[in-house]
Amino acid sequence: MTALGARNPTVKLLLVVAVSLATLALLDPAALAALYLLGLAAARWGAGVGGRRLLLAQVPFWTFGVGVLLVNAMSRPGAVLVAGGPFRVTHEGLVVGAALALRGCVIGVATVAFLASTPPRDLMVSLVRHARLSPRYAYALLAGHRMLAGLPRQWATIRAAQQVRAPLGRDGRPHEGWRGLARSAFALLVASIRASERVALALESRGLSSGPRTVWRPVPLGAADAALAAGVLGVLALVVLAAARL
């Protein structure tokens, strides 16, 4: 188990929220870049996310960041750094754009580190126990999560079943168009609704209610979690203070 994997999920979730809030107070690219690097390190070594997977997980945030950076750099008024034709890049625009882009990246990497180090079951058990989430919602979500994992396979089965009667295209493969996709989606919807009704009944017939319950293998909450919280909050405070001084 990784260092972050052993920590309490509710604590980690609150820390992700704290980091996200802290980034809102920051508009300094250097401070945000420092947080981003720390976040990457936490995801890589704290949560044990492999280098390649970590890189892939960053792609959506980078894509989003590049967009935010370009829009801000070219649309904000201020000292012009480069001008060409109708485009002007301003210093203020560049700084604000970089800060906003990095904000997204920090929140993104914190979420990646959280998800990679937290099994859904532990998260729900901890939220029920430490955050007073109703067990009815928590276990319904867990059962839903299990069903979700089976959806791609079911989709493939339904698509194949539906293509049998589809007319053949020029390449000799069945060709249905969007109508076919809509039919398959409807079939999947029907199957999923039926399945979720059965799962809901199974949960209820095993006594799931909103009443008091015990937990066989609880998720611990202890000194190490307090230390993690103190550490993360301390670093956040330092970064925010340093950014305010400069």
Binding site: R165, A187, E204, S205
Partner: protein, 587 residues
């Protein structure tokens, strides 16, 4: 313990059950039987409050479990005294970890955590699933999942155990494992038990009536209790009626009905050789010498992994390699093999909806009916469903009408296909595929989940297609169905095609049966030992069917809606004309 008085339930759709009166003593075991649609599952759901608390229905009368009124308690409030095992293994297990799943009911009841661990281990052991502790539930087979769900149902030591067709969705291996687990769990908990199961021949196994609960309750087609008493007595009195209504009965009961006599009487099976010897010969044994309509050469089949892993591992691992096969006009070929051996993948590849990983499939585009008919539904009404993929116009309307009439669906033409029964959906899927008039028909587990009449109808339709000059290939877990329809059997095991034999050759080869995880019943073993060839085996099974239905006083079920179009001239035969036990059915 369980007290049901004047119970009547009417579901929103209009179907229902009742009036039912039923009292169970502690530890008493009851089997509920009845034709499809009699409301067996609805009755079971009334007993723990799922009807009307989770499924809307009008319910009158009284149901009480250990003195608690079900109407006033919800489903969850009865969980400490009632354990439930449903039919679908995939949705009967809710959590990702096996031990969490079994611990879950105890946690909900507020059991002290220290007591949960030992109870989970004991329940898994009682359900024959001790070795599954620590596994993830998404990696388990249907039979394994069902045993985990059974452990979760008995872990609270309930006073009443409700089993709703617990083995109906499993293959032979799974049925055997769950059967043993059920027996052990019922014995170890001492719980009273109400069992509903339609595949009684599979569930009872070689033990016959003795392998089932000792008290039988029979529901009529409209949901009333017609018989309630000791198994042997009810089997004798209600056996013919149940058989006539399409129920699958234990083989000893079926033979007792066919030959006249009592179930479990020694010697019933000894009448089979005479029946086999005197069975009228039917189909031309030269079937299958026709031209090759579909051929596969050097075929490797497999599904590309879906989801995240697809990026990392773009190449799919074949489940079957080096498959060479030919389907000829006029023959019915069955594919058998264990769950997960690649039968469905092979069929999908032959049908052209899954690209082969290697090799080629040659021939005209085949038709395909998939295991779950709902996956194939694309129309809003039954008639529209049959018309899917055909050009609109009066010619199509005529063809659709003819197909509906042929499969007995004309009266349902305007219904929503999703609201049909399982048997009706299966007939619809066949009608919708056959209307395309493709030379090859592929069918993936076409008899799955059907009652006896539904199975007979499907098998007749497949045989009829072959007679009409098509090639038919079906996958099937049911050896009796295979033996009664197939000309050839392809055995799939260990990543390849390991045999191409006739059904008798399969039944006589223990090595092949083991490879395909098949267990022939007593009836099939006995017949296989006395018949001369596969054709005679088929004749004997057909003779037994005819004899049993004749003795049961049923009109030939397929005659009324024979997909091959031949009306039954005899109508309802005279029950007095039932054949004499030692004699040979003549028809």
């Amino acid at each position: 313990m369980l007290d049901v008085a004047g119970l009547e339930a009417v579901l929103d759709g209009g179907s229902g059950v009742g009036p039912v009166d039923l009292r169970l003593a502690p530890g008493e075991q009851v089997l509920v039987l009845g034709p499809s649609g009699a409301g067996k599952s609805t009755l079971l759901r009334c007993l723990h409050g799922a009807v009307p608390h989770a499924v809307p229905a009008r319910v009158s009368g009284r149901v009480a479990v250990v003195g608690r009124s079900v109407a006033e308690h919800g489903v969850a409030a009865l969980a400490d005294v009632v354990g439930v095992l449903a039919q679908d293994p995939e949705t009967g297990v809710c959590l990702a970890d096996v031990e969490d799943e079994v611990a879950f009911p105890l946690e909900n009841l507020g059991t002290p955590p220290a007591a949960i661990g030992p109870a989970v281990a004991a329940a898994l052991g009682a359900a024959g699933a001790g070795h599954l502790a620590g596994r993830r539930t998404d990696a388990l087979s249907g039979g394994e999942l069902q045993r985990v769900a059974l452990a979760a149902a008995v872990v609270t030591r309930p006073r009443l155990l409700l089993l709703d067709e617990p083995t109906s969705m499993l293959d032979a291996d799974g049925v055997a494992a769950v059967r043993d687990a059920l027996t052990a769990a019922r014995a170890s908990t001492g719980a009273a038990c109400v069992l509903v199961e339609h595949r009684l021949d599979a569930l009872a196994g070689d033990a016959g009536v003795a392998g089932l609960p000792g008290r039988w309750v029979v529901l009529s087609a409209d949901g009333r209790v017609t018989h309630d008493g000791p198994a042997a007595e009810v089997a004798r009195d209600a056996g013919p009626e149940l058989l006539a209504r399409g129920c699958w009965l234990p083989e000893d009961v079926e033979l007792a009905v066919a030959f006249g006599g009592a179930a479990g009487e020694p010697g019933t099976f000894d009448l089979l050789p005479a029946l086999a010897a005197g069975a009228p010969p039917s189909r031309d044994p030269a079937a299958g010498r026709g031209e090759v309509l579909l051929a596969a050469r050097g075929l490797a089949v497999g599904r590309r992994p879906v989801g995240r892993s697809a990026r990392r591992r773009p190449a799919a691992e074949p489940v079957l390699r080096h498959v060479d096969l030919r389907l000829r006009a006029g023959e019915v070929v069955a594919v058998v093999g264990a769950n997960g051996s690649g039968k469905s993948t092979l069929v999908a590849t032959l049908a052209g909806v899954l690209p082969p990983l290697a090799g080629v499939v040659e021939g005209a585009r085949p038709g395909l009916v998939v295991q779950n008919p709902e996956h194939q539904l694309a129309g809003r009404t039954v008639a529209a469903e049959v018309a899917v993929g055909l050009p609109p116009g009066p010619a199509t309307d005529d063809r659709v009408a003819a197909a509906l009439a042929r499969f007995g669906l004309a009266a349902l033409a305007d219904r929503d296909p999703h609201r049909l029964s399982g048997g009706e959906q299966r007939r619809l899927s066949l009608a919708a595929m056959l209307v395309h008039d493709r030379p090859v028909l592929l069918a993936d587990e076409p008899t799955f989940g059907l009652d006896r009449h539904g199975t007979a109808t499907v098998l007749r339709a497949l045989a009829g297609e072959a007679r009409a000059g098509r090639a038919v290939l079906l996958t099937c877990h049911d050896l009796r169905a295979v033996a009664s329809v197939a000309d050839r059997v392809l055995v799939v095991a260990d990543g390849g095609l390991v045999a191409d034999v006739d059904p008798l050759g399969l039944l006589r080869e223990p090595r092949l049966l083991a490879a395909a995880r098949l267990r022939p019943s007593r009836l099939l073993r006995r017949l296989a030992a006395v018949v001369g060839d596969a054709g005679r085996l088929r004749d004997a099974l057909a003779a037994l069917d005819a004899c049993a239905l004749l003795a049961a006083g049923a009109p030939d079920p397929a005659g009324a809606r024979d997909p091959a179009g031949a009306p039954d001239p005899a109508g309802a035969p005279d029950p007095a004309g039932a054949p004499d036990p030692a004699g040979v059915p003549v028809r």
